[in-house]
Amino acid sequence: MTSYRLPKGGLIDRQSPLSFRFDGKALSGFSGDSLASALLANGQRLVARSFKYHRPRGILTAGSAEPNALMTIGSGGRTEPNTRATMQELYQGLEAQSQNRWPSLDLDIGALNSLLSPFLGAGFYYKTFMWPGALWEKLYEPFIRKAAGLGKATYEADPDGYEKSWAHCDLLVIGAGPAGLGAALTAGRSGARVIVVDEHALAGGSLLAETASIGGATAAEFARQAIAELESLPNVEVLTRTTAFGWYDGNVFGAVQRVQKHVATPKDNVPVERLWRIAAKRALLATGTEERPLVFGGNDIPGVMMAGAARSYLNRYGVAFGKRAAVFTTNDSGYALARDLEGAGVELAAIVDSRADAAIAWSGKARLVKGAFVSDAKGGKSLSGISIWKDGKSETLDVDALAVSGGFSPIIHLACHRGGRPVWSDTHSAFLAPTKLNGLSLAGAVKATSGIAACMADGAAQASALLGELGFKVEPATFGAVEGDIAVPAAKAVWSIPGIKGKAFVDFQNDVHRKDLGLAVQEGYGHVELAKRYTTTGMATDQGKLSNVNAIGLLAEARGVSPADVGTTTFRPFYTPVSFGALTGAYHRDHFQPVRKSPLHDWAAKNGAKFVETGLWYRSSWFPRDGETSWRESVDREVRNVRLNAGLCDVSMLGKIEIVGADAGEFLNRIYSNGFAKLPVGKARYGLMLREDGIVYDDGTTSRIEENRYFMTTTTAYAAGVMNHLEFCSQALWPDLDVRLSSVTDQWAQMAIAGPKSRTILQAIVDDDISNEAFPFLAARDVSLFSGQLRGRLFRISFSGELAYELAVPAGYGESVADALMDAGKQHGICAYGVEALSVLRIEKGHVTHNELNGTVVPADLGFGKMVSAAKPDFIGKAMVDREGLVAEDRPQLVGVVPLDPAQAFRTGSHILAKDAAATLENDQGYVTSSCYSPHIGSTIGLALVKRGSQRHGEDVMIWNGLRNEYTPGRLCSPVFFDPANEKLHV
């Protein structure tokens, strides 16, 4: 119990206490606390176990870079692992659990890993667990995964809602610290549309941890007033709790807003998180800096904290990080903390400044040791002392808290997301953002400006200049005098610290220490990209926010070069982790994939249909009747009944496109490989559509409804693709043709009525004469229905090979018309049939679908050679369909296949072998594209694409399924199993 709440101070509301639990222990904090500040206020400094060595870890930062204090928040479906306690606001009843420890945080068996650490260095798993390979999956990997780890995700569904939004603005200001507020106030007053985002609950950035004053008000009060002014402006939107996580093409920024992550019970009708895409004409990065840790022994012991964080806990949260503290710094910022600690009455034992020539004046009580380093921190679960190394001599000092400042790294991540590389600056001992960023500027500390006044002025000036580019005239905002600020000029970075005895961590979250980097260089992995992967430095969930620059500095030293020569790994979105929920938005559960229902869906449902998902569609698959125990029984009955009496099938999901215009006929003639120019009004024709490479793209029927109006049907799967294709052809290839296209798939309910009694049944509702003479095969006309009550489109086309029609009626009438047909057909034995029976009927008839139109076949392969017009001067695919390879002798061709023994079956996908050939790839003759049990034939039948298949009817073959080791002796035959003379079509 060494950190504690001060009796006064901080931006917390001491009138609003909040109770919460950590590992089951009841604790209390105040409104305005973060989980981290509340834990510290309760003296809870041990909050986590490290990833690999299970070392005790405490809170290191007060912000989003926190590597240690990751915990699991919430329970049930709201369990959120790896939450940074520094970013989590405290709320009443919050439940937090520490991670990666067993049986408890205090007594963790995994800490034995520390004893094994000589074997667990960089690349240990590549070396140690190399052999035998078989043990990797079963033994090594599970062991490593169990021993190393983060929190566990829940298996329960997330009960909360998420949302995605677009926003547009003239100026986006990222970060609401001194520079960001200076910019936002300037921009807000100009009338421009401004969005300000800040990742914290309270805007103000570093001002909230300041004891300096601005124009006589405290820095925090200044920030409060600035935000109040911004929020009063209608042209400004301030988004707090919002992290800008990426900069994307077109100056679009990704940001995630944690709308309800700080409340005990989220409201149902408000998302918990909102993903923003912000299209900004200009953007200003005012993200400030990240303080760098120093790499000394035991620098991860609870009680060691970043100096800026210690100052934030002190001034913003009224929490002292220890009772007897020391400061170890390489720059002037440590003195601001020292001053504030003494001001708050916290005992400060020493300031250890690495600079022998530090010029800053110190008038406090604490002892100042210049030119010295903290070489080691001591203690187990809590800091007990430090070793101070100076000129080769070491002294020990008893302290329970140590604040560390190793300099500052500008938070330039977003500026590098579009390919720009960071630039090392010796002057600033830091990587700075690349220049000439199109649409993005930087202001304040992120571009190495130091001091509150200078940062505010820079923000104001940048905003004025950026808005000037957009035509807004606005003077930079000015502010009252800043007093009490300790501006921090750049100081030389310190990478290697002398005299280290203990483990000196570089990457806290992945447990990478100094020697690991040395080892990487020694073993030839000194390149920054290799060192990263060899040691895993920078690869944890914090993506090396604290560690990368130290790692680069140490690599540079080990290689004897400048950090500029080492370079950096690539910054990529996301700046901080983004939940899958936010990325998913509303597109989950029923909204993950919308359900597309045919206008006849309800008709099918009430007739007992079983549905199958095909793409977005729910298609009626078969219609079981009482007593039927398997789908096959139902399908066989439906097929027999269609061939004997009649059936009705929903075919509404076929793509339907209306093609109108004076050149519609010519257009179709160029789209299809077969001729369409002479198609008479009132007739349908089967058409084949090729791709430019000569391969069949899609098929379907197109009917000429009027002189200049055609009605095209496509396959269900390619409905959208064909529409896009037709639009491309009409707009990009032949814009001179007078053609208009409309997708009318959803406008028509379409039903197939097939079977010998179909005409009789249809005639009951169709007013027009549909006798064979009046309405012959391939007739296609508008017809009157129900004594003139309704108009529909009737097509005499057949997929089943039976006398058949397709009737299209306006979608809203579909169900009633289907009902009427079922009523009219009852006495004639009509049945509803689904796509399974439809498929059996078409296989029996040898009709192809996309099983056969598989993206490799040309029309001749299917026996459609005559459908490639030689007479037409041009159509899509004409130039390539006859080229070498597509006319080869041994191309796979459509053929039928049956088992020699009708009792034997085979499966779609089985391969065809010559009768006595071995089952090898070389002997492969083709494969079965479609198969089914045919009630008409009385056995399984198949369609297959087999080499020279059209010339091999009658040949005995072996049907081989290598996956299941099935061999079925079979025979190739004509692909038309039913009514090869097409007599039934014409009755």
Binding site: R277, A279, N724, A732, P735, P873, A879
Partner: protein
């Protein structure tokens, strides 16, 4: 890929509304010969820099566009309706 695509008919729209077909090439004459057609169907340049592509405003006006996109920076320099054509010379 660009986050926003400028459509000559609809203005700046999110890329999710569009589908890209690929290089905007002039379709050869039917009798241009096998070599010319093989180039058109299969051969593509892979330039670093400006590249003309066919984009379809699928979830918008449903017009096909010729979009000039920089393959290195993804910046879009120009977009026009595909009916305005593409130059004959491109291969």
């Amino acid at each position: 890929m660009a986050s926003l695509v400028s459509c000559p008919h609809c203005g700046s729209r999110p890329k999710e509304e569009f589908t890209v077909k690929g290089a905007a090439l002039k379709r050869p004459a039917p009798d241009a010969g096998q070599e010319r057609w093989m180039d058109y169907v299969y051969l593509r340049d892979n330039p670093r820099g400006a590249y003309e592509e066919y984009w379809h405003h699928t979830s918008g006006c449903r017009r096909w566009l010729v979009v000039t996109r920089d393959t290195a920076t993804h910046e879009i320099a120009d977009s026009r309706d595909a009916a305005l054509g593409v130059p004959e010379t491109r291969a």
